[in-house]
């Protein structure tokens, strides 16, 4: 099959059974790859009601047809499972070099089931697949463990690891790869930890066949040429994603002091220029990427000097301004610590900021914190709380379940400023002044993440106060952006450098030999979107509109200062946004797809199942 390795690897850690299953043409055609495969297997194989941290949950590691192939940035691997953060479908993706290596070993997806009897890692070298004990790695930092495995197996192995937070099943534990890149969101590291799986190491030496090599080379050459000629490329190579910080601050979107504010008086300290000048050591790129947005940096704290990849914008926003730290070097050190502990920097930044606000309001006291002063602006507090979270000790136990869970423990009104949707902490764009972006966060299938739809510029372009028409923009983006995760290719070249989508439409037949148009692929993306919604509806009888709500802070508190001072979103506007969104999607006003909608999308069997359960009509 063109564009694919052709096999799915299934590993049961409980029984040590290793099996290969041929990838079917139907699955590849209908679900494309990556997140599409993850959603498909998650719905079919994870039983409703399964404990996300129990052996019945499955981790699906999958890439898509564009990964590992001669085209710009075919570097994306999706990790999917039932998320311990949300109890719903979750996925997170990572760049680097894992995706291609997995295909070169012969696999489009790896389904990991059960639980190993002892700490183990999965070794894959082409056909040779082994579950190996790795007691010596257990307890190591995520990057430390990756380096140890590289030393043992060789640099040519591509490795994904977890840190202590994953081992201890912190619900926002990340998966590390390529010395500092992460599949950060949704707690995929906790799922690995629950399975006693410290790492996956892959080496492959096979080819991936493509349908039309000449056609592929022609389109890919044009794409590379266009990228290299792009006037913004130099800025990207220079500053990476850190360049967005100053802009985000200027438009009132930069999370500050647990999203109380959306502009930060010290934001200039975090600018891309300052980062480049003060801490960047060298640039770093993923597979076949000319942008090289990764930045290897150096940071020192209390006499200890560390090296890390990052920080990029999200980390700077959630750890930097959201915890009110003082310099990019402080952010970088906190970033390094989270990477080694195996904590998602977005959720960790939220969790620590939430604890800081609780402390400053007296909701938690020194008695709870073991004498620690947890105040905004303190890197020391960040460091100590992050360690407690990873170890699940002291206040870290409550925070290890995420801010929603911590608010349920600490109460006293803290629920209002637990900044999350569906249990996943909010990423780097405060949206009281951006209704479409707010809707994007509310309706994102994995919780409050910006990756499915990023539409702040739409709010600015058509007017921040405008509601009408914004749901359509969010839906449009929710189909385009996740399609990249199915194809196994990075979307930065399109979304940031403006590489036309037409190139990707031309790549698809050249790689796969299929005749799908771009619109056909978008229809499949819509189908996958409805499949993950169906996962939630099957999971919980009461799942619906109430799960698509922002934290109360955004409704109750106007922005206190900065460029959007006085703004807040109203209940009326939120309801209008949601009604319009549900109507356009063919969902009822409780946010459930109708039987008719699911049938239209080719999900008739699933519609019948949910209808028989009384969940949809």
């Amino acid at each position: 099959m063109y564009g694919y390795a052709g096999d799915i690897l299934r590993v049961n850690l409980s029984t040590s059974a290793v099996t290969h299953e041929p990838l079917s043409e139907d699955l590849a055609s209908e679900y494309i790859g990556g997140r599409g495969f993850g959603a498909y297997f998650a719905y079919r194989e994870i039983p409703a009601g399964a404990d996300p941290l129990g052996p019945a949950n499955k981790l699906i590691v999958a890439s898509g047809p564009f990964a590992g192939v001669f085209l710009p940035s075919g570097a994306k691997t999706s990790l999917s499972a039932k998320s311990p953060a949300t109890g719903l479908y979750g996925d997170s993706n990572v760049g680097g070099h894992l995706a291609g290596e997995m295909k070169y070993a012969g696999f489009d997806a790896i389904i990991i089931e059960g639980k190993a009897k002892e700490p183990s890692y999965l070794f894959i070298e082409d056909e040779k697949v082994e579950i190996r004990p790795c007691g010596r790695l257990w307890g190591m930092g995520a990057i430390e463990a990756e380096k140890a495995l590289k030393e043992q197996l060789g640099d040519e192995f591509q490795i994904a690891t977890i840190g202590p937070a994953g081992e201890n099943m912190v619900v926002f534990a990340s998966v590390n790869h390529d010395i500092g890149r992460q599949a950060g969101r949704c707690g995929m590291g906790a799922v690995m930890g629950s399975k006693n799986l410290k790492a996956v190491a892959i080496r492959g030496t096979k080819n991936v066949p493509v349908a039309d090599m000449d056609g592929l080379r022609k389109v890919a050459d044009e794409m590379f040429t266009a990228l290299m000629a792009n006037p913004a490329l130099k800025a990207w190579q220079d500053q990476g994603l850190a360049q967005v910080t100053t802009w985000s601050n200027s438009i009132g979107a930069l999370p500050t002091r647990n999203f109380h504010q959306n502009s930060y008086e010290n934001a200039e300290s975090f600018s891309g220029e300052r980062m480049r000048r003060e801490i960047v050591v060298r640039d770093k790129a993923c597979f076949a990427c000319p942008m090289a947005t990764g930045k290897f940096c150096r940071a020192s704290y209390r006499g200890k000097t560390v090296y890390l990849e990052g920080p990029e914008y999200e980390t700077t926003a959630l750890i930097g301004s959201n915890c009110a730290l003082g310099s990019i070097e402080e952010v970088a050190y906190a970033n390094y610590l989270c990477d080694e502990l195996g904590l998602d920097t977005i959720s960790a930044g939220n969790a620590v900021a939430f604890a800081m606000e609780c402390f400053e309001k007296g909701i938690i006291t020194k008695e709870d914190t073991g004498g620690l002063e947890i105040r905004f602006g303190s890197l020391h507090a960040f460091v100590e709380v992050a360690k407690l979270i990873a170890e699940r000790k002291g206040i870290g136990e409550a925070l290890s379940g995420g801010v929603r869970a911590a608010a349920a423990v600490w109460g006293q009104g803290s629920e209002d400023f637990a900044i999350q949707v569906k249990g996943l902490e909010w990423s780097g764009y405060e949206s009281r002044g951006a209704p479409s972006m707010m809707l994007a966060y509310m309706t994102c299938d994995i919780g409050a993440h910006h990756n499915r739809a990023w539409s702040i510029t739409h709010d600015i372009a058509v007017g921040r106060g405008v509601i009408e028409g914004k749901a359509a923009k969010v839906i449009e983006l929710q189909h385009i952006r996740p399609l990249f995760d199915c194809l196994g290719v990075c979307r930065l070249q399109w979304v940031e450098l403006g590489l036309p989508l037409e190139y990707y439409a031309k790549l698809y037949p050249a790689v796969t030999g299929r005749r799908d148009s771009w619109d056909d692929l978008l229809n499949k993306s819509e189908k996958i979107w409805n499949l993950t919604r169906a996962f939630a509806i099957r999971e919980r009888a009461d799942f619906g509109r109430a799960d698509d709500q922002p934290p109360r802070r955004f409704l109750q508190e106007p922005v206190p200062d900065g460029p959007l001072a006085g703004l807040r979103i109203t209940r009326e506007d939120l309801d209008r946004l949601l009604d319009e969104y549900y109507d356009l999607r063919g969902w009822d006003r409780n946010g459930r797809p109708t039987v008719e909608t699911l049938r239209r999308l080719g999900l008739g069997e699933l519609a019948s199942e949910l209808q028989a359960m009384g969940r949809i009509s």
Partner: protein
């Protein structure tokens, strides 16, 4: 002085009423921010700005004949 602003295609998708290119006649000493305002680009819609092939902040003073490239803000992936 004469200055030319070129808008990246992706920016014209976000705001269709922007042309791909606009020629401006600005007073001596005008800054890049003045040029963006004169072209009617709302604050927040531009990200990176270049004068020639050099990345510049919006406080940059322009000279006669400058070619400015305007790119949208980045989205953090």
């Amino acid at each position: 002085m004469k200055v030319t602003l070129e808008f990246a295609k992706v920016l014209t998708v976000i705001r269709p009423e922007l042309p791909e290119k606009v020629d401006l006649d600005l007073p001596e000493g005008a800054t890049l921010e003045d040029a963006l305002a004169a072209a009617g680009v709302p604050q927040g819609l531009w990200g990176i700005t270049l004068v020639g092939d050099k990345v510049c902040g919006t406080g940059e003073r322009l000279s006669d004949g400058d070619r400015v490239t305007v790119l949208p803000p980045v989205s953090g992936g």
